[in-house]
């Protein structure tokens, strides 16, 4: 085997090694990402228990006609109520 051939084999071997370690790193990354995803979905399912139990899909509910208007109305009432309370508090302080 010539020196050139030996050198080329070494170079291929080291390239393989590099690729293997890159694959291993990517695999490890995948495991981490999936673990994070699983944790997040698991925690979300924990919180969503009662919504799922009552078959409540809030996105679908809010798409219904009038839902956005109702929400806006509630927010408006809440804003007025808060402003009223703030005013009452500041009046009672002064």
């Amino acid at each position: 085997m010539s020196a050139a051939e030996t050198s080329s084999e070494h170079s291929l071997e080291s390239e393989n090694e590099l690729l293997r370690s890159r694959v291993a790193a990517l695999e490890a990354e995948l495991v981490k990402v999936q673990a994070r995803t699983n944790t997040a979905v698991g925690q979300w399912q924990e919180r969503a228990y009662w919504l799922d139990r009552w078959h409540l899909d809030l996105n679908a509910l809010m798409r219904k006609p009038g839902a956005a208007e109702l929400r806006a109305a509630v927010r408006a009432v809440r804003t007025v109520t808060r402003a009223f309370r703030r005013a009452k508090r500041s009046l009672s302080r002064s």
Binding site: R20, V23, A24, E27, L30, V31, Q34, A35, T37, N38, T39, V41, G42, Q45, E46, A48, Y49, L51, D52, R53, H55
Partner: protein, 722 residues
């Protein structure tokens, strides 16, 4: 000017008939024919007094289509109008019809609106007004004159036609004729007319005063008839669901209230009509849906629900639908249309795997079997509280998760057992019924994201698991030899097929492992079921003498409950003082001996029961179950069947008392434990000692080794190929 005949089918129609005939005299048609089918009131007298032609037929000869065809044959007008006995033409009615037939030479029929009478209920009045206004929705012009304009309807337009108030060109009727159906002959004619290239005209000027003055119950029965007729003539099935019905009823009642406001109805009258409207619309939805599914109801019930007292299931209608009217009567019942199901059965999934093969696996990576943290996805069948197989799975999977593996659970519910259970609830139930699990739970595979090992866990899950891509390996946790759960059947064949797809099997006993290897040539290894020693331990309670407890789960055939009951009967015959307690079933079984029943118990309760009894009896015709181990852990000697799977775990003379599948031999084994105190003590001590090492942690070690083995097999296969 075209000559006009008017036909009025009558039965007990005296209330409006006089008014109707007077209106016709005013309108000036050429000929009037009243067909009476057995009136018991003054209808015939009224017709005779008005000087119109009267044709009498027997009530049983009447049918809406047939009788109208007969009447058309008996008249001569170029136009034939049909009115019902309670429809009074408004002024201008006849002129409007004559005009309708001049609009196009292919006009075969015309119809006009039904206007409410002054005493018509608000909901019917509103409905009539809105319904007929709908036909003119597209013709109203800016100056409002569209409201009185006739509308020509051709193929593709609504096929609605109503013989309450309709007029036909004789040429059209002769070509199409009314189908010989019991109901909705007009709707069928409307559809047939358009299909044959004729046109029809809605003319707002051809109005009649008309309202059905029924009680709430009569209305419901009428809707039953109407939708039954629609089903028979057009195949229409009225959709029905409780939420949609509730919404629709609410909408209708709100509209009725609005209508009442517009018409100045208020106070107590309004409240009374609101209550009636609620009943009316609810009854309408329910009875319409029932009517369009009437073929599923028993004949006596159909007759009771029908206002016309009709019980027959529409053989006449089926014939009419196929002949288009006038033909013979087919003896075939109408076929039932079945909608496509939402999801495929497990059979469909198996067929797909047989057709396309499993999804290809990802290339193996060197060292993947030894990686510390694996991505594990477990595919499970639907479950309920107390499911033993699922308990085993989650005891292990929970521990795998705690060891740092990334775990997810996927429910394969091809038959829709958990259709109404959403994922977060499934996850909650797993935690409540079996073991703690922090990871996500998915229904179906829409969000499938791949795994190092996809794990099938029951025969129903295997074909679905084989379709999952982005996996390095697949494994199969086999709790039992499931083909034995079924008699000769598709299920038996499919369950057996699951062992032939080169998935590495992790079997819940050495017996099961050997069976999989020998019978199916599977790659398999075994794990030992664990015992929760915190729960199953001898409790501080005095054992009751002469007490035999029996796991009598009758609904599980592999538990051989009839054999167990025979054995207990024999024991009771030999030893009348023995106390027998049956548990594990909600059903109180019939037995030839007196016994005590304690239902399905929690693990905690079971441990106390096992600690108090003298002998346990638990039979299994397939793989050995967890229960005998739990009895042994509580110091309770247990009798099991010999020659099946128990020896593979306990040996032929281990802690279990084994007996052949024979009631007398089983009774012998129980009696020996009851009589021989030394023998009893020996079995009890050996049992506690034996199961001490059988823990869920140990089972998890074995299953984890099996999962890594599945990955290693893939690595080795790849090396061999290279």
């Amino acid at each position: 000017m075209k000559s006009v005949s008017v036909v009025i089918p009558v039965k007990d129609g005296e209330r409006y008939l006089e008014e109707l005939l007077a209106a016709l005299a005013r309108e000036g048609n050429d000929e009037t024919l009243v067909i009476d089918s057995g009136s018991r009131d003054r209808s015939r007298e009224i017709a005779r007094a008005a000087g119109v032609e009267l044709l009498e037929i027997a009530p049983e000869e009447f049918a809406h289509g047939r009788t109208r065809n007969l009447a058309a044959e008996r008249t001569t007008g170029e136009l034939i109008c049909f009115l019902t006995q309670d429809a009074t033409p408004c002024p201008g009615w006849l002129d409007a019809y004559r005009e309708a037939f001049t609009l196009d030479e292919r006009v075969g029929a015309a119809y006009g609106p039904h206007l409410p009478r002054p005493d018509t209920s608000p909901m019917i009045a509103r409905e009539l007004t809105e319904f007929f206004a709908g036909f003119q929705a597209n013709t109203a012009t800016a100056n409002g004159d569209g409201a009185r304009r006739p509308v020509i309807q051709r193929a593709g337009d609504p096929s609605f036609l109503s013989n309450v108030n309709a007029c036909y060109a004789r040429a059209c009727w002769e070509e199409i004729r009314f189908r010989d159906v019991a109901y909705s002959e007009d709707q069928a004619f409307g559809a047939d007319l358009l299909a044959a290239g004729w046109a029809k005209v809605y003319h707002p000027g051809a109005a009649v005063l008309h309202a059905h003055d029924y009680s709430a119950i009569e209305f419901m029965r009428r809707y039953f008839d109407e939708y039954r007729g629609l089903r028979e003539t057009t195949g229409h099935i009225e959709p029905f669901s409780v939420p949609a019905t509730a919404q629709q009823v609410l909408r209708e009642v709100t509209a009725d209230q609005r209508w009442m406001t517009q018409h100045g109805i208020s106070g107590a009258t309004r409240a009374r009509w609101t209550a009636r409207a609620l009943t009316h619309h609810t009854g309408r939805r329910v009875f319409s849906a029932a009517g369009s599914r009437s073929e599923r109801l028993p004949s006596p019930l159909r007759r009771r629900l029908s206002l016309e007292g009709r019980a027959a299931a529409g053989a006449d209608a089926g014939a009419a639908a196929t002949t288009g009217g006038g033909g013979g009567v087919s003896p075939l019942p109408p076929a039932t249309h079945i909608e496509k199901k939402l999801s495929g059965e497990v059979y469909d999934v198996a067929a797909q795997v047989w057709r396309d093969g499993p999804a290809p696996l990802l290339d193996p990576l060197p060292g993947m079997a030894e990686r510390e943290r694996l991505r594990l996805a477990m595919v499970i069948p639907p479950f309920s509280r107390g499911s033993g197989g699922h308990n085993t799975l989650f005891q292990i999977f929970s521990r795998l998760e705690r060891r740092g593996h990334t775990c997810s659970v996927w429910l394969a519910d091809y038959q829709g057992y958990s259709r109404d259970v959403w994922p977060a609830v499934l996850r909650h139930d797993i935690n409540e019924f079996f073991a703690p699990f922090q990871g996500p739970v998915y229904k179906g595979f829409d969000q499938w994201q791949g795994a190092d090992v996809a794990i099938a866990t029951g025969w129903q899950t295997v074909h679905g698991t084989l379709q999952l891509d982005q996996c390095r390996a697949r494994a199969y946790i086999v709790n039992d030899h499931e083909p034995e759960f079924y008699a000769a059947s598709a299920e038996q064949a499919l369950a057996a097929d699951t062992y032939r797809h080169d998935m590495h099997c992790i079997a819940a006993s050495p017996w099961l492992r050997d069976l999989l290897i020998e019978r199916y040539d599977s790659s398999a290894e075994a794990f030992q079921l664990g015992v929760d020693h915190d729960t199953y331990r001898p409790r501080p309670v005095v054992r009751e003498p002469n007490t035999v407890i029996y796991y009598a789960r009758y609904v599980t055939p592999r538990r051989a409950v009839p054999i167990g009951l025979m054995a207990l009967a024999e024991l009771k015959r030999r030893r009348p003082d023995v106390r027998i307690v049956l548990f594990g079933t909600g059903e109180m079984l019939h037995a030839s001996f007196p016994y005590e029943h304690v239902d399905v118990l929690s693990p905690e309760q079971l441990s106390w029961l096992y600690s108090q009894a003298t002998v346990g009896l638990c039979l299994s015709l397939t793989n050995f179950s967890l229960m005998p181990k739990e009895m042994l852990a509580c110091g309770l000697p247990c009798v099991e069947l010999a020659g099946i799977s128990a020896e593979s775990i306990f040996g032929a003379d281990g802690p279990l008392e084994l007996a052949q599948l024979d009631p007398n031999r089983i009774a012998d084994a129980m009696e020996r434990l009851l009589i021989d105190q030394e023998h009893w003590q020996q079995r009890s001590d050996r049992g506690i000692e034996f199961v001490a090492s059988h823990t869920w942690d140990h089972a998890t070690d074995e299953v984890e080794a099996g999962l890594r083995h599945a990955l290693r097999e893939r690595e080795e296969a790849a090396t061999t190929i290279r």
